[in-house]
């Protein structure tokens, strides 16, 4: 059970005002706010324990190293990975996907091979594959999106074949809210020895993820979308892939031995972490994961589903408003359009009411193209939102109609 008053008291920004109105923050799919413990984590690191990691014999360096590697252990436990060495720290989901594209897929991809993605992917899970496919003369194949907001998995038998070298698919859509059940897809891909990358940028914050039972080969997410700091994220990859992947960036810490003639690379995961990493970021992200674990992902899931149901009902009652994406299984994201009113105008007017929502294509232009709309207004909710806030949001939408009507 979420103790909403206690939870809200942990997030200082929720008690601020915007344009003289109490802030209603409903832009959580873009980025989440930070609890005090996360904010304090980097202050405390820098005030008491900070130094560069890994290569230092002195106390501060040892403490920072222990905290940084402790963060890796926290991540491992959070997603139930098999081993800490399967956890690579990166800037965010986007970098994790690019890392897999360049260190895993690039060396094995041949002309006429295929990469299978879906029509609801975030640009970050489209462009790296598109750029790579273009360089290699390979082809991007698409699992189509249905009007309902679900993917058309009935097309899988045609799409999955031995030409496919990787499937990259989102766990939860950031513009539609759709949660994809990937069990069958992953089983079928594995039957053909095709690895599957799961984009967990949205799912990670909304329901429990267990990468071993999911059986993803690569799983990526960003710290800033799960109440952690910016500039840090995670690539989880199965050891068998990571071991054989080419190094990513070159630099300090990713090598064992350097001479101008020959360089020996370090073990995983260090081989993929060149240079000084985001030490404070990793530690802050672990603090965020601890916070979320304390609340419990199942409790969060349940609470957010209630919010989603309530908000869906409230919004559907508004004349001329149409929700885009009504899949059976959805996370707490509602995209909508309003007859004759452009989302950009909706966003500005709601902002004046203190309500922060996102408007635009949400980095999913193909989804917009599919529905033949330029943009939507997106309300994305977190466990710190309340039904009272949803009422304020609904009132703000009615104001939009009034003003633009």
């Amino acid at each position: 059970m979420i103790d909403i008053n206690k939870v809200r008291s942990n997030f200082p920004i929720l008690h601020t005002e915007v344009h003289g109105k109490a802030l209603v923050y409903a832009d959580n799919a873009a980025s989440t706010q930070k609890p005090q413990s996360v904010i304090d984590s980097s202050s405390e690191l820098y005030a008491k324990n900070y130094a560069n990691i890994h290569r230092g014999v002195h106390q501060l360096s040892q403490r920072s190293t222990a905290l940084y590697e402790g963060a890796r252990a926290t991540v491992r436990a959070f997603i139930n990975a098999g081993d800490v060495k399967e956890i690579v720290f990166v800037r965010g989901a986007t970098e994790a996907i690019n890392l897999v594209a360049s260190s895993y897929l690039e060396p094995v991809l041949q002309a006429n091979d295929q990469i299978l993605i879906s029509e609801m992917e975030h640009h970050s899970n489209i462009i790296p594959w598109q750029m790579l496919a273009e360089r290699k003369g390979a082809e991007l194949k698409i699992i189509p999106l249905l009007e309902s907001g679900d993917l058309d998995f009935t097309k899988l038998p045609q799409l999955l074949n031995s030409k496919v070298k990787l499937v990259a698919i989102t766990h939860m859509s950031n513009s539609l809210g759709t949660i994809n059940d990937l069990t069958t897809l992953i089983d079928q891909a594995h039957a053909l020895d095709i690895p599957v990358l799961v984009d967990g940028a949205q799912s990670i914050a909304h329901f429990p993820v267990d990468v071993q039972s999911l059986d993803s080969d690569f799983f990526v997410f960003s710290g800033h979308k799960i109440y952690g700091p910016t500039g840090i994220g995670v690539l989880h990859a199965k050891e068998k892939y990571l071991e054989n992947m080419q190094p990513y960036q070159g630099g300090g810490d990713m090598i064992l031995n350097v001479s101008f003639e020959k360089t020996e690379f370090n073990d995983i995961p260090y081989k993929f972490e060149a240079g000084t990493p985001n030490i404070a970021g990793a530690i802050g992200m672990a603090t965020a994961l601890d916070y979320v674990s304390d609340l419990g992902l199942s409790a969060i899931d349940q609470y957010e589903r209630e919010l989603l149901a309530y908000a869906t009902e409230q919004f559907q009652a508004i004349d001329g408003l149409k929700i885009i994406g009504l899949a059976e299984n959805k996370g707490s994201i509602i995209s909508f359009i309003m007859e004759g009113i452009h989302p950009h105008d909706v966003g500005t007017i709601m902002d004046m009411e203190g309500v922060a929502v996102r408007t635009g294509h949400h980095c999913t232009q193909p989804v917009m193209d599919c529905y033949n709309i330029p943009a939507t207004t997106r309300v994305s909710l977190s466990f710190y939102n309340t039904k009272a806030e949803i009422d304020i949001i609904a009132r703000a939408i009615r104001k939009v109609k009034e003003l633009m009507g």
Binding site: G340, I341, H342, P343, H344, D345, T348, I349, M352, T359, G360, H361, M368, P374, A375, K399, L403, M404
Partner: protein, 151 residues
């Protein structure tokens, strides 16, 4: 709500609902596409310039109320004006929507376009208001074909 009323004035809402000079212009002497990637606004602008004077001007596209009405009011305003003048109007319009002080005279010159003064309170919307004007500049400057608002 008063700032919002300033922004969404009746004239703007009217031109958003019923944009003037909407459609393609064929044949035309100048043409450019405009695009605001951040909100998805798209604009196509056509001009027929004869002897340095804008004889006709039309646009198509889709966008928010601010960008649509701005394009509509701009086309009305520019018809019959000379190319040389447009660059000055561009500057004045830009000063207007970004809140740089404009002399009464210059404001007078802008006529109905003065309704966009409310935009200065909404920095995020400056790009919407100025998209049609950037597109215009590009249409007249034949070397560039797609206008973007600055990031």
């Amino acid at each position: 709500m008063s700032e919002l009323r300033e922004l969404y004035q009746e004239v703007i809402l009217d031109h958003n609902r019923n944009p003037r000079n909407f459609g393609q212009l064929r044949p035309h002497s100048h043409h450019a596409n405009g695009h605001n990637p951040l909100c998805g606004d798209k604009l196509e602008l056509f001009l027929d310039v004869v002897d340095g004077v804008i004889k006709d001007i039309k646009f198509t596209g889709s966008g928010c109320a601010i960008s649509t009405s701005s394009a509509s009011l701009m086309t009305q305003f520019l018809k019959g004006k000379s190319i040389a003048e447009t660059r000055i109007y561009f500057d004045h319009f830009h000063d207007l929507v970004t809140g740089k002080g404009l002399s009464d005279e210059d404001l007078d010159d802008l006529g109905k376009l003065a309704v966009f003064a409310g935009v200065q309170e909404f920095p995020a919307r400056v790009k919407c208001a100025s998209l049609s004007w950037h597109t215009l500049m590009n249409a007249l400057d034949t070397t560039k074909h797609i206008a973007q608002t600055e990031n």
